[in-house]
Symmetry: C3
Subunit: 343 residues, 3 copies
Amino acid sequence: MEFTVEQIAQMLNGEVKGDKSLKVSQLAKIEEGTTGCISFLANPKYEQYLYTTTSSAVIVDNTFEPKKDYTTTLILVKNAYAAFTTLLQEYQKILAQNKKGIEQPSFISSSATIGTDVYIGAFAYVGDNCKVGNKTKIYPNVSIAEASVIGENCTIYSGVTIYHNTIIGDNCVIHANAVIGSDGFGFAPQADGTFATIPQLGNVVLENNVSIGANTTVDRATMGSTILRDGVKIDNLVQIAHNVEIGKNTVIAALTGISGSTKVGSNCMIGGQVGMAGHITVADRTIVTAQSGVTKTVKQSGRIMAGSPAQDSHNNLKSQVLYKNLPKIEQRLKEVEEQIKQK
Amino acid sequence: MEFTVEQIAQMLNGEVKGDKSLKVSQLAKIEEGTTGCISFLANPKYEQYLYTTTSSAVIVDNTFEPKKDYTTTLILVKNAYAAFTTLLQEYQKILAQNKKGIEQPSFISSSATIGTDVYIGAFAYVGDNCKVGNKTKIYPNVSIAEASVIGENCTIYSGVTIYHNTIIGDNCVIHANAVIGSDGFGFAPQADGTFATIPQLGNVVLENNVSIGANTTVDRATMGSTILRDGVKIDNLVQIAHNVEIGKNTVIAALTGISGSTKVGSNCMIGGQVGMAGHITVADRTIVTAQSGVTKTVKQSGRIMAGSPAQDSHNNLKSQVLYKNLPKIEQRLKEVEEQIKQK
Amino acid sequence: MEFTVEQIAQMLNGEVKGDKSLKVSQLAKIEEGTTGCISFLANPKYEQYLYTTTSSAVIVDNTFEPKKDYTTTLILVKNAYAAFTTLLQEYQKILAQNKKGIEQPSFISSSATIGTDVYIGAFAYVGDNCKVGNKTKIYPNVSIAEASVIGENCTIYSGVTIYHNTIIGDNCVIHANAVIGSDGFGFAPQADGTFATIPQLGNVVLENNVSIGANTTVDRATMGSTILRDGVKIDNLVQIAHNVEIGKNTVIAALTGISGSTKVGSNCMIGGQVGMAGHITVADRTIVTAQSGVTKTVKQSGRIMAGSPAQDSHNNLKSQVLYKNLPKIEQRLKEVEEQIKQK
């Protein structure tokens, strides 16, 4: 999409200083922008780039006074940062509106219920008795198995697999090749050393405003539901095991694994490559730093946990420093031993 | 599917106490069930829920004597736990039988051999010279490249990619978006700092009763085969590198990585987020705890390994405790130093 | 494919000693080969297998003199190892040439530009305004979103998702179910505890000769580009976050995660399950050992980093050994304490 600087100024209630007819089609950082780009300047640290940028236009506060010559066109607004955010959102909206209608060939079961204003891409599969809410977008090569329900205004990117009986609320985003509802890892050891598969008959429930990263996996419950509450945000390549429950607005970074039946509270922040044992409870507002291993229930809310096994971050930091200094500590011990011998 | 309580009682050789005509369509835990659900009570700890549950029916031992009033219908059987397991398996079987036939559009090479009673979903791709055994189910959007052989009674869920020349035995389950047979990570460093790709000409062999988790990757061998023996069970997001061999009935939890050419014995239990170095051998019945890093061959079978680098779990536990107490240890050392100075 | 021993000898400028008419169709290690296989003997350690192998033919140096009887046919060449490598590459080329043309049904937007000699598999999706270079192969069930550009001679395996505006150079290989261009994990905390999604408007750029492993994810930049430079090789299940830049010829092993805005230098070697914090810089030729956590900028090039948090490998090794010996160290400290008491 292409806009004139004037059109953008109107959108932002701004005033143009320079060539109004210039065309811009891309958003860029001020230090990276080139012809055809629009950038913004909010942080004074970046002011230097205003005088050298080749972005076609730069959004600035209307109180801003340049100290050197510049070649770009300015758009003066009340708050440059807020205006740029508005622009980002408008741009995103326009992009999203592009997708509508049902591409062919796709496979939609005759027993499925499809809302209005949906997008269903080619090679998408919607199984028996599924429901797809209004304005939801299902990209190419998505597979949705029978009796799954997807709310309104969701975006399911290409290659996602949703197993049977999954329930997804409104405004959820599932990134490419994620898997929702795969069997929990449940096997019963037999006398002869083999394992019998324990049927996984529950499902997965994603409430509203949940975001799931690319190639992330969320296993169905053995019975009952694996539940991700309102506003949960999960990064890429995360494993959520069977019967796990994640509280509202909890955020989990990439490559983390939550083991079976663990309950994570609301508004927690879990770093990357964290592991959590099964059957534990983690209180609300817990922060877990990257690569930690949480092996026990965390009862008190608001703690910062670190290390493997995880302990209070404060304590872990002390141990970490001493770990690095172990050679020195051992040397000191040696010296003490020597001195004692000599006495 | 919907059954009357009477039909279920007949299936389980049980006796109904209450309304035989009630309809149930779902299995649920006794503490979570609602109208239309059937639950079971085997563990006395859960007896309290019998008196409050709104499940339509509960399976109980025929020796059970209620101590309070209840509103649910009882199904009396010899062994409630065993009866419920039977029910789970019957339910699973019925679910599985639903899938049969070849949906359109799908792509089946004219040189492929397809068994009887198979299911091939829409947008599934079966390449040249592939063989698909009887009763095997291939879900939508699966890709199977040329000359791969899949045994009988396998289930390949949506989005799985199987590269050329892969050999899969009978009764295997591969969960969604897993990848079997991708190139091993083999690059030969060149004088100019670039890397030349080493052709990966081997394949992957999964023997019988192997289960592969969602988004797991199993690389093909450089030459020869990457082999997962009978009954191996792999969780989600696991990496099995080229030329690895995993022994019978070994179980591997999520986010673990096994490096190239490593041989893992049979009946091992490998925790989540474990790493194993390449070109090592791990003896039968080894247990590796979560987040450990196995860097050396484990010769003696039946050991429990923990830590990174991994050592005997028993020793690692001691070191872990002392690591947590390093600040105290350093304090004790300081005191000793002071005392020596003063003497 | 099947060749006679004579045909292969001609290809390698070799001389046959034995039955020229034997047919071979597979490459195998000398210790594993069977009828129909061709193997090689370069390392004297493996000479014993020559006398027992059932491979139909074995490539040997023309200076080789057998010391015992053997039943296989020999192909004598100047350098057996080099000849076998040639054979591998020829075999790979023949395999690759098999794929050409556009299978149906596939979805190619009328505004897409498709080069010559391409392969586009069934159920592949090429969106609006995409460009696909000459000789590039797009396997079944691949999804390429609008305005993405893919260079010449690339291979995109089944199930890969490429988001909009992605730019991919020449000779790149992307393995199955990898995701290129998913949204960066960017959420702005709101006063009520929820998170607002930060639009991710940048893209991903893969330069030339880049290799991406199966189920690996590369997030698009918030603004600007996530960039993987010439010759970068990434293993399976790796997470590359938004705005990351990876320098030329850097190699990253499986299950590693690089956090947002981090810049990794050229010719680095990053082990498996490594984590890197966001907004740091890692110098050229840095080596990071498996399971390490790099939390700070590494300024000096050529260092070997280990541990979590990572330090010089040399120091980390010392700490590791002492960690294992912590029980002994504590015992020594106890003895010192006792002795002091007694004095």
